[in-house]
Symmetry: C2
Subunit: 114 residues, 2 copies
Amino acid sequence: MVKLTKAFPDDDRPYYAVIFTSQRSEVSADYDSTAERMLALAATQDGYMGLETVRGADGLGITVSYWRDLEAIRAWRLHGEHTLARERGRADWYRGYRLRIAKVEREYAWGEPL
Amino acid sequence: MVKLTKAFPDDDRPYYAVIFTSQRSEVSADYDSTAERMLALAATQDGYMGLETVRGADGLGITVSYWRDLEAIRAWRLHGEHTLARERGRADWYRGYRLRIAKVEREYAWGEPL
């Protein structure tokens, strides 16, 4: 029997996922502390709904953050400290990345909550 | 200067992302071979557009696959071998997972192709 539950049972509005896929460079200075700071800062933004992030041993990473609407995503993009971190990311920490903004239409969960 | 490119420049139709976030169990028997087989099999399906997958040392994984439309996602879900693998996954390989189907509305890329 498959148990399916909604992630956000109290909120049936559509919401958005920002899928950030990236390949790290060899530069490590300031990366970990800045990444931690960005995760903590994102979580304080209006419209933030959650985040999942994984990086593999080969340097490929996927971070998916969830947001109430496009306005919340836009406000986070324009945040000054986040903008500086992105510029630093392009200068130092990433070889390349891809960003997709997608509207979540269906959702299922099974087993222990992630 | 930020270089932004479309991922699929020849195809401006909206497409879909399937975001599969999972936490592995301690059971490893048959997992790697089945996971490899599923990635290879997915790539042969009509409407498949690509896939990114990362698993961290703590067992948390994110796999995002990209599809032309909801019909292609549905056909892959109903594929017999995929259905059996999912059942095995719930019985043995995963503590829990979450699946989101999302329509990609905007996309940006920077640097080396991923």
